[in-house]
């Protein structure tokens, strides 16, 4: 791992006192435009008031159902979206205040892997060209050095060096995701955002890719943000898990705690809805009624109150704040103490 070792040199000498990532009251609204002369008629509340920190080498899992805002959080970290309000600080520096050069530097340290690697790999470029591109953009190495680094990257993710002369369509889904991972680690990032990175893979291949990510994390003391709807996979890789519903974090705890004793009614329902590969365990499920409400007009008060079996009139009036639990976790429910 000559290239990786070289690129990683000296990384821990700076900014030791800051957490790697601090997200504070992050909010992202998308305007909804309509009409012949388009004007803003509403706002999609994609992310509302989300705060968390991430240390070096740590994994935070973000779970929730479609439209809960988990991917938007990931994309805002890399400035793929600009935040509406709130701050994202990477190694103490506010991402929103960075100029273009600084953002390019930031993306050396934060990388993202998407669900469908085929869409994020240029179909007309060879794997060698795709993997050399990060070095080209960051103006690193000679052509010969880059070719060597590409070979090392391919080896590291379990692919043969000969892959570099082939095109993305020649690979299976699992192999393409390995290529996506190789590209993400090329510049020795400090954080990788995995946005549903293993969700589209078959289960036997998914476990290979999960194992690969975990071993890379160990080796490179990578921090991971693992965004997925599959709680079992998220729990397997994460130190802490944040559960999101309609743009808000409703509960954030250690993975083990959240699974053994979920506190928020939504987390309870989510865990109970997950089928278990054990035919004896067809336990009584809490089945949520109805669908997730529209994020354009989220419910007043607690956003979950329309589907919550414990909701009382106060839940539709007052917006709950995140409260600290005795075990250090956080929960956003007015009634968590009564119902548990």
């Amino acid at each position: 791992m000559h290239a990786l070792a070289r690129l990683g040199e000296g990384r821990d000498l700076t900014m030791r006192s800051f957490p790697l990532l601090e997200v504070e009251r992050l909010t992202k609204h998308f305007p909804v435009r309509a009409g012949v002369i388009p004007r803003t008629v509403g706002r999609v509340h994609a992310v509302d008031d989300v705060s968390f920190t991430l240390r070096r080498g740590e994994t935070i899992g973000l779970v929730g159902e479609s439209g809960c805002g988990k991917s938007t959080v990931g994309k805002t970290l890399l400035r793929l979206y600009d935040a509406t309000s709130g701050t994202v600080k990477f190694e103490g520096k506010d991402v929103s205040e960075m100029n273009r050069a600084q953002v390019r530097e930031l993306r050396k340290h934060i990388q993202i892997i998407f669900q469908d690697p085929f869409e994020s790999l240029n179909a007309r470029h060879t794997i060698g060209k795709i993997l050399a591109e990060p070095f080209v953009i960051q103006k690193m190495g000679t052509a010969a050095e880059r070719a060597q680094w590409v070979g090392e990257l391919l080896n590291r993710v379990g692919l043969d060096v000969s892959a570099s002369n082939r095109f993305p369509h020649e690979f299976s889904g699992g192999q393409r995701q390995r290529i996506g991972i190789a590209r993400a680690i090329a510049l020795s990032p400090k954080l990788i955002v995995c946005d549903e990175a293993v969700s589209a893979l078959d289960v036997s291949v998914q476990s290979q890719v999960v194992n690969l990510l975990l071993s890379l994390q160990q080796e490179m003391s990578l921090a991971l943000m693992f965004i997925a709807h599959d709680l079992a996979v998220v729990k397997h890789v994460s130190d802490r898990i944040a559960v999101m519903y309609l743009g808000e974090i409703v509960e954030m705890r250690d993975g083990e705690d959240i699974y053994r004793s979920p506190r928020h009614p939504y987390t309870k329902a989510l865990i109970s809805a997950i089928p278990v590969a054990d035919p004896r365990n067809k336990s009584q499920r809490t089945i949520l009624e109805g669908d997730v409400p529209s994020p354009i007009n989220p419910p007043s008060g607690c956003r979950f109150h329309t589907r919550c079996q414990f909701a009382t009139p106060k839940c539709s009036k007052y917006r709950p704040e995140l409260e600290e639990l005795p075990d250090g976790g956080l929960v956003k429910c007015l009634r968590w103490n009564e119902i548990n």
Binding site: S204, S207, H229, A269, P279, L288, V292
Partner: protein, 329 residues
Amino acid sequence: MTVLDVSGLSVSFDTDEGIVDVLDRVDFKIREGETHGIVGESGCGKSVTSLAIMGLLPKPSGRVTAGSIKFAGRDILKLSSTEMRSIRGDGISMIFQEPMAALNPVQRVGNQLLESLRTHRSDISTDKARAKCVEMLGHVGIPAPEQRLREYPHQLSGGMRQRVMIAMALVNVPDVLIADEPTTALDVTIQAQILELLKELQRDYGMAVIFITHDLAVIAEISDSVTVMYAGRVVERAPVLPLFDGPQHPYTKGLLGSIPSLAGEPKTDLTTIPGMVPTFFTMPSGCRFSNRCEHAQGRCSETVPSLETVQSSHGVACMRWRDLAKVAT
């Protein structure tokens, strides 16, 4: 009583690179009121199996080359297209993974539902048919069904669309319902609603269900018996408890081990199956799993294993299952 008997079913497809044998002698039987799960990874042939049963293989590239599918005492592969049309949607119905692709986007939900009913019940009056559709939508848990009949598919959420699909499939009370990954595109809380609904409807209507999925956890949840497929062949078949308690085929074992469990120890190495599913052009001879199997021996790549009986209705297509079972105990 057996309602559907698939026996020795082989299907080939013409492709630009030549003919590929997508299914190779697939057998299974479904009894009345039973839910039979078919599980396997992409390309194992589980969806082609269901299309073959429905007589919906893409023409002219796909064709059944051998075998029979017996439904109500007749081999439906021998029926004319008119005869098959009278079975499809009436005797055997199907729901798909992506309801938005299966529903007609420019037709109101009500018209589509009416069409599935009246295709097979031409004698029924419009008023009666409409009442029947409203009742059916109510039955699959759609609130304000009369209003929904006038809406278009895009006005419904994913879960609601899947309920409409289920209503369309069940409106003629079929004997067999084929559900091809019906919950894969849905969120987990909506998936739980739909699985519960399917179980309820099965109790009410007594139909047999073929449930096709890649997700073993969903199989554990809903099936009475299971067929595991790999690369176009059946590798193991058993009632659900013996399959999860004592899987015999190395592929089934690997598949079960690969699932991260909520109760498991985090950050440990997950069991993996090395390599990947072969393409139809690189299919190993003999046992098709032999090139990924840690227990493979010389003979595994020479002879095609047949389904051997482990216990009464538990079968496994592995030449070494006896040796492996001995090692395990």
